[in-house]
């Protein structure tokens, strides 16, 4: 019987390499920086740029696991509420006399628990989509935060706690370093481990994953738990930056986070996406906002620009590919 030779060497194709979504994002990123530098004399200033990252990095921690969630073909819209609940619990416990370190641990625990509950409900009641489950828990988590703190704010944290959100290592904000570390960990987890591979598998075809021995439910629960956990990491940084917390913090974070993930090239249909793109998109949106803020753009114009960016950046490669396809078919 004739045997076919099948190669296992990846062919390097320059064209398809540069047609990757991430290059598009790099391009946008460069364009935005050129534009910003032209418009505002304050933009090209290392200190300013580094400080600017602190303003948008708090949510960025959730973006990382949210990429996993969306790659799995699910969605989690309860993360903003999880931030609020874990922050509120931490503040209340600290003010009740717990040591700050312990309160912070509990904050993380609360976040992880919220995520675990989402994952548990979604896997146990498969008829329910993640949208409806997290829509309900979104209301519940925020509601519990209201029950706990009512109309009060809670703060008065020890001085060192403000280091999280305001401190520097040399000239670099601590938050940026923390984010970089998390980003590397999540990037490796997604692309270099069996766990990440299985996350992709589930997003592609969860039935076939099950038949291949992938423990779909377990992985889903872990991913949702990670999303909750990172929401509580955001809670730590956000609380540190605000010095106090309230039940209504982090309102609407979920949409910002999801927007960053999808701009990063992660398909909401599941199964596709890369960490690099997601991280690039965090900085694209962050710096775009910052640059426009430096020239005091009004909120309405800012909204329109961000909306257009979202659409055009997704549309341009689509048009390109469609043309290529047409050219071939003709």
């Amino acid at each position: 019987m004739e045997k076919r030779i099948i190669t296992n060497k990846k062919q390097f194709d320059i064209k398809s390499f540069f047609l990757q979504w991430e290059w598009m994002l790099v391009l946008i990123f460069i364009l935005i920086n050129i534009m910003n530098a032209n418009f505002s004399p304050y933009y090209l200033n290392t200190n300013n740029l580094l400080n600017a990252t602190m303003a948008f990095l708090d949510k960025a921690f959730i973006v990382l696991p949210m990429a996993f969630v969306i790659i799995m073909g699910d969605i989690d819209i309860s993360v903003g509420s999880t931030v609020a609940l874990s922050a509120v619990v931490m503040a209340v416990l600290y003010n009740a006399g717990l040591p700050m370190g312990l309160a912070m641990m509990i904050c993380l625990l609360v976040g992880a628990t919220c995520g675990f509950i989402n994952g548990f409900l979604i896997t146990k009641y498969k008829e329910l989509s993640a949208v409806i489950v997290t829509l309900a828990t979104m209301t519940i988590y925020r509601g519990i935060a209201y029950v706990i703190l009512e109309n009060q704010a809670s703060g008065g944290f020890p001085m060192w706690f403000s280091y999280l959100g305001w401190g520097y290592v040399g000239k670099i904000p601590f938050m940026l370093i923390a984010f970089a570390i998390c980003a590397v960990i999540y990037g490796l987890l997604l692309h270099k481990t069996t766990f990440g591979r299985r996350v992709f598998a589930i997003g592609n075809n969860d039935t076939a994953s099950r038949f291949s021995g992938v423990e779909v439910d377990k992985i889903k629960i872990i991913v949702f738990t990670l999303a909750g956990l990172m929401a509580s990491v955001t809670a730590l940084f956000l609380t540190s930056r605000m010095g106090s917390t309230r039940p209504n913090v982090a309102m609407g974070y979920e949409l910002d986070v999801i927007a960053m993930v999808v701009l990063g090239g992660v398909s909401t249909a599941g199964g596709k996406g890369r960490m690099i793109g997601t991280i690039l998109s965090i900085f694209i949106i962050g710096f775009l906002r910052y640059g426009l803020g430096l020239i005091n753009t009004s909120a309405q114009v800012l909204l329109i620009i961000i909306g257009m960016l979202l659409i055009f950046s997704v549309m341009i490669p689509n048009i390109k590919f469609k043309k290529r396809k047409k050219a071939k078919e003709a």
């Binding site: 099948i6 766990f195 291949s212």
Partner: protein, 505 residues
């Protein structure tokens, strides 16, 4: 005026990276049943999609009743009386059977454009009854079994009252009896004046129905013959390009010690009292009519749908299996019946698909070792002889049979002792079938225990050592291959009594 209702000349179709069709010809006479044959990936499905306007050809022209036509979309083809039953069932799982049948040509009131549901339901019922099926036209398509869905697809093609009907492997999901029904209908359609193109990998179908046969190979036109002009062996050579010496290359393997024993396995509402034993080196065929519950038994052993009665012993040890992971760890592997839904990540490369079940083997503490992974993938892909150039080729770009080979390769990576193959040769060409049988035989001779679910008698008789027959969720016979014939098996598959009366091993 031409002699042909349909004539295609010099058709070429290129997909990114694949020349699926290369200058092929085809001629269809009125009132003829014309078989189109060829290996997996020969381009048959692509060819019919060109006829029905799903794809547009890169080159070539199509003549309908002597007039040149071009279709921009499937609707154009439908309007001109071309209907097709596609290979991969293309149904609307959320909609009713009636809607599935009439989608695109609903019956509407002439003036108000209101859909005439009652009339459609009634007509759907009639069509289905004509096909010998009692499916309720109001039931939801997604709740039907694959075979039932196939019947609905056929009804759909009939409903268009088309003059040209194309059937792409309609018998792949049907049992002999249902196939007979299909033959009858097809012949009736022909007698009513329709011309039919029939694609199948089963020679029975071809001999039973067709008067002409056209063969494609690797996207090229090989030839057209009258059914009696050429011998079966020559057909195989035309299709595969070489001789397939032995269709059932059964190697006599040494039957070793017992590795799997089921005792009264059952799942409430699905099956009950299933007991049999499997030994090293043994090939056990699990057969019966479609819907007999074979898949469910297999999936229970594999942990997809855990059983709730009875016991499973692996190598004499009682085990509990709650998930596929459990069973893979116990050395049981399963090749699912529906390769597209259950077997493959269609958007992934071949290599990634092959290694998914056993990632642990190419990783260290969770870290993937990709070069090692790619190496294994290459070896296995070559071993099952997938028609592809690189392990990074997407699974979705493979033809049905080659996809099946990839799923088989997935099983070979794990350290398995027991391999369960659910309809492994469904929709697979002769060459690939032989290859799969060969792999099966090799596995048995290496000491694996193999369970093969199959509805095809020749393969059951040709490959197995032991035959377990099921009917309506119960075992109705356990037979030794030495002393059975097709008749004894069929008798067991259709009896109304339980195991004891039929004889056991």
């Amino acid at each position: 005026m031409s002699n042909y209702v349909l004539e295609l000349n010099g058709i070429t179709k290129i997909f990114p990276g694949v020349k699926a069709l290369d200058n092929v010809h085809f001629q269809l006479k009125p009132g003829e049943i014309h078989a189109l044959m060829g290996e997996n990936g020969a381009g048959k499905s692509t060819f019919i999609k060109i006829i029905t306007g799903v794809h547009s050809p890169d080159e070539g022209k199509m003549l309908l009743n002597g007039e040149e036509v071009t279709f921009d979309n499937p609707r154009d083809a439908q309007k001109l009386g071309i209907a097709a039953i596609y290979q991969h069932v293309t149904c609307y799982p959320d909609l009713t059977v009636t809607e599935n049948i009439f989608m695109g040509h609903e019956k509407v009131d002439k003036t108000t454009k209101r859909i005439l549901w009652k009339q459609m339901h009634a007509e759907a019922k009639e069509l289905l009854e004509e096909l010998g099926s009692s499916i309720d036209p109001r039931s939801q398509m997604g709740t039907l079994s694959v075979a039932q869905q196939q019947i609905v697809e056929i009804a759909k093609a009939l409903s268009t009252k088309a003059k040209i009907i194309i059937m792409d492997e309609p018998t792949a999901a049907l049992t002999n009896r249902e196939s007979e029904e299909l033959y009858r209908i097809t012949e009736k359609l022909r007698d009513d004046g329709a011309s039919i193109i029939f694609i199948s990998h089963r020679f029975e179908d071809m001999y039973r129905l067709a008067s002409k046969v056209t063969v494609f190979r690797d996207g090229k036109y090989i030839g057209t013959w009258g059914i009696n002009e050429v011998s079966k062996e020559d057909f195989i050579v035309a299709m595969v390009g070489r001789e397939v010496t032995q269709l059932f290359p059964k190697i006599e393997a040494k039957i070793g010690k017992e590795i799997l024993r089921l005792e009264g396995l059952g799942k409430t509402g699905h099956f009950a009292d299933v007991s049999f034993t499997l030994h090293e080196g043994e090939i056990l065929a699990l057969t019966g009519l479609v819907g007999a519950g074979r898949t469910e038994v297999c999936q229970a052993i594999f942990g997809i749908m855990p059983y709730n009665q009875g016991k499973v012993y692996v190598e004499g040890q009682e085990v509990t299996i709650k998930s596929p992971k459990d069973s893979i760890q116990l050395g049981i592997g399963y090749l699912p019946e529906d390769r597209q839904q259950q077997g493959l990540m269609l958007q992934w490369g071949i290599g990634r698909n092959i290694t998914l079940p056993t990632l642990e083997k190419y990783s260290k503490k969770g870290w993937l070792l990709e070069s090692k992974e790619d190496e294994v993938a290459k070896t296995l892909a070559e071993k099952v002889n997938v028609k592809a150039n690189s392990i990074f080729d997407l699974a979705s770009s493979l033809s049905g049979g080659n996809q099946q080979k990839v799923v088989v390769a997935k099983l070979l990576t794990a350290d398995l002792k027991i391999i369960i193959l659910d309809e492994p040769t469904k929709g697979v060409d002769v060459g690939a079938k032989a290859a799969i049988y060969e792999i099966m035989g090799e596995l048995a001779s290496q000491g694996y225990g193999v369970v093969m679910v199959s509805s095809e008698m020749p393969e059951v008789l040709g490959m197995s050592d032991k035959i377990v027959v099921m009917k309506e969720g119960r075992v109705t016979g356990i037979l030794d291959n030495k002393d059975v014939t097709q008749e004894t098996i069929l008798k067991a598959a259709m009896v109304n009594k339980t195991t004891e009366d039929v004889g056991s091993l």
